[in-house]
Symmetry: C2
Subunit: 460 residues, 2 copies
């Protein structure tokens, strides 16, 4: 059998096995693996065990790996193949409150109208099962698992992943691969297949400015004594000039221009910024003039005030000069912007506004650089072609405005690029009542992985 014939056979097997695959997904969805709720600790473990058993049944070397929190599931196939692959998904789910807003019990999956409805259907059990089903079809056709494959399933993604980084560190040699596949994202807004190739980084910083040693009466002291709220406002306002450009010296060092390919890809998405903003009651893009909406959220860095407080904020009025003012400020980073350099530039900026008789204190909250995948790795074109073929629509390399910590961790700890490929849709109501996954996402997702695996693991 040619490689193409084998692929066709796999796709055929997936088509034939649709109902059985759906039944397996329903089994997993019935386990209420809510990781943030201690009452469900045993359920989370049960989901891990279910996965281990499922994978062992397919021929993986599969094991449950305990952590201080919920366990990891790790499964490996036989060595070999053109490149080694680490696949990541998570088997824990979000809480289900408010329960009365669900149309059915959240852990009793309902199949109707081309959808499967349950907590975790889309995030992330349905997605991770697309990959397992592809592996199953591979085994069926090849008589063996896809070679060089490691699967890592986490049980704490919805509760902050406290055990993930130590686990990656402790098991780096085992987990490191040529490339990582992360299946926890979606199709592009209009349903086009997409591979996220760049994610913005983040620096978070809390600032506390203190002036007098107590709150002062604005009659007795106003006009003479420093007001830390005014100092803070002036300092934060000066972070941007009138055109919206961030003023920190050297801030834009490392920001990259889009490649022609990216620009073409992004333009082809026909992103309509006013329409996108209209979904949240807004209409006007605020980024630098001349930038497209997608550049503003994907490839341009930001400076944002995420929280600010000081003085009297209750009902009515109090003519107080507050003793202190606090702000939480974050920067979304792109390209090679260095989080530590930017943190330092920000602190220097703030200090310039703080008079000699006031003090400023900083608290660091997170610092991660942007992730830019090396799309010159042929794996990206392989995956793009596979997705395009499966979905019958051009696949786009897209950006993401937020950070996906796992991708950064894979890069930092395992020195491995990731392809973020997923089949969720914007209307899947993840984290909300009546979460669903389209049956099409599930089925074509599995077929997509079959194609991608064929492209990645077979030589040539």
């Amino acid at each position: 059998m040619t490689d193409q014939a084998k692929l066709d056979a796999m796709l055929d097997a997936l088509d034939q096995g649709r109902d059985a695959a759906l039944n397996r997904l329903c089994d997993l969805l019935r386990i209420p693996s809510i990781s943030t709720d201690p009452a469900h600790k045993a359920d989370v473990r049960r989901a891990a065990e279910w996965l281990r058993d499922e994978l062992a049944g397919l021929g993986f070397q599969a094991s449950i790996r305990d952590t201080p929190g919920h366990p990891m599931v790790v499964a490996t196939s036989q060595p070999g193949g053109a490149r080694s692959i680490l696949f990541y998904g998570h088997y824990d789910v979000q809480p289900v409150d408010p329960l009365h807003l669900w149309d059915h019990p959240p852990f009793d999956p309902q199949i109707a109208d081309g959808q499967i409805r349950a907590r975790g259907a889309s995030d992330d059990k349905g997605q991770l099962m697309t990959f397992i089903e592809a592996a199953r079809a591979w085994k069926q056709v090849h008589g063996a698992l896809p070679p060089g494959l490691t699967l890592l399933f986490e049980g704490e993604e919805e509760s902050g992943s406290p055990s993930l980084v130590p686990f990656l560190r402790d098991n780096a040699d085992e987990l490191r691969a040529s490339i990582a596949l992360i299946c926890d994202t979606g199709l592009y807004a209009d349903g086009r297949p997409a591979i996220a190739t760049q994610l913005r980084g983040l620096v978070g910083q809390e600032v506390v400015i203190r002036a007098a040693d107590r709150d002062l009466h604005s009659g007795s002291f106003g006009g003479l004594a420093a007001n830390p709220l005014m100092i803070l406002c002036r300092a934060l306002a000066a972070l941007k000039d009138d055109s919206g450009r961030i003023t920190l010296p050297g801030f834009y060092d490392g920001v990259r221009d889009l490649t022609d390919q990216q620009r073409a890809d992004w333009d082809s998405l026909n992103f309509d910024a006013p329409e996108f903003l209209s979904r949240v009651g807004l209409s006007q893009p605020i980024g630098e003039q001349g930038r497209t909406g997608l550049e503003m959220i994907w490839s341009q860095p930001t400076a944002e005030i995420n929280g600010l407080s000081g003085g009297y904020t209750g009902e009515g009025f109090k003519t107080v000069l507050p003793a202190e003012a606090r702000a939480k400020v974050s920067f979304r980073l792109v390209g090679d912007q260095n989080p530590q350099t930017i943190r330092q530039a920000f602190q220097d900026h703030i200090r310039r506004f703080v008079p000699a008789d006031c003090t400023v204190e900083f608290h660091d909250h997170g610092a991660s650089p942007a992730s830019h995948m090396d799309t010159s790795d042929p794996a990206f074109d392989t995956a793009r072609a596979a997705l395009t073929q499966e979905w019958g629509r051009d696949t786009a390399f897209i950006g993401m405005g937020g950070s996906i910590p796992i991708a950064g961790d894979f890069k930092t700890i395992l020195d491995m690029d990731s392809m973020l490929i997923g089949f969720a849709r914007d209307d899947d109501r993840i984290h909300s009542p009546n979460e669903k996954y389209d049956l099409d996402s599930f089925h074509k997702g599995a077929r997509s992985w079959a194609r991608i695996l064929a492209g990645l693991t077979l030589p040539g």
Copy 2:
């Protein structure tokens, strides 16, 4: 007997009657007239009754005047005299918590080390009794009360004076006089006698800027969607230029230069701004360059942020673009600055920063112009001379940075200037545990009023 001989006789009577006067003050101090605490409602009334009885005993037409809150006490002497006078004080007191910080029960007055210690000793029972003692001495020497005198004692000053304005309105004809004497302030910092002749006004304004219809994820929307905290910071920061001058168009219209007399008076006070600031842990005056410290707090207007809140302000960090941001902003006004004009200029200023897809909402909180007394009224020189004679130190016409609402109300409702004269000292611990009043303040205060009454009520 000449007028001077009569005055000497009054002063002599006050000297002879020191102990009896102190006993009377102790009687009043023993009544726990805490106006803000409903549990002390009857005590507040008892204090009013005590005053009414005391004043009736002196020959005043004295009555308790009920209000929706605590009662007023109004007492009038016979008509006549060179000018009519309204004297104001308040007989209610602050709460006493935390009780364990008191060295003695707060309503059991202690006399020691030249001080009388009790809640209300300085604020304001001791002060109002200085005037009653002066009236008593007058009666003793003249055989009749000082002519043309009305006394108004309030029982709600420490709880926001809710009944005062309606009471003034309803009884305007009865209360209107040539001049008001308000005894609820202190000597100047170094113990010099002082008459406050100007008070800053106030405009308070709450601002709410709303952007998206929900909190947004700063990864998905940051750089594209408006951040109301950033808008608010930029708008508020732009209220002042780098020299500290307020930028609202027309803001300084009506700000007056100091008169030569004022400048001489204020310079003579040797106000040491860094020393004053050092008491609250600061050192650097922030006002416009070239202004003295007293100008900054007395005769220059201000723009202050009294409170600001928006976004996530709890522990840790949340990368949110908040849906709204709120600030409470106030302006201290001087001269003829118009509160409504400034409120409007402020609103116009803020609106210029709010993009078309965001909204701004304003809530008004108070608007009172500055009070500048007409010191060309000879009453001021009369009082100044009387105080200088009593205290053996030059009396200063001073300003006050805060508003004293009663002075504004007398002006607005009764078209009457006030002389704010008091004998409290900076270390009297008003509103705090172990409040005290110097026996010297009490005694020389009474003697001061005898001199002032002689100067004001006698023709020529």
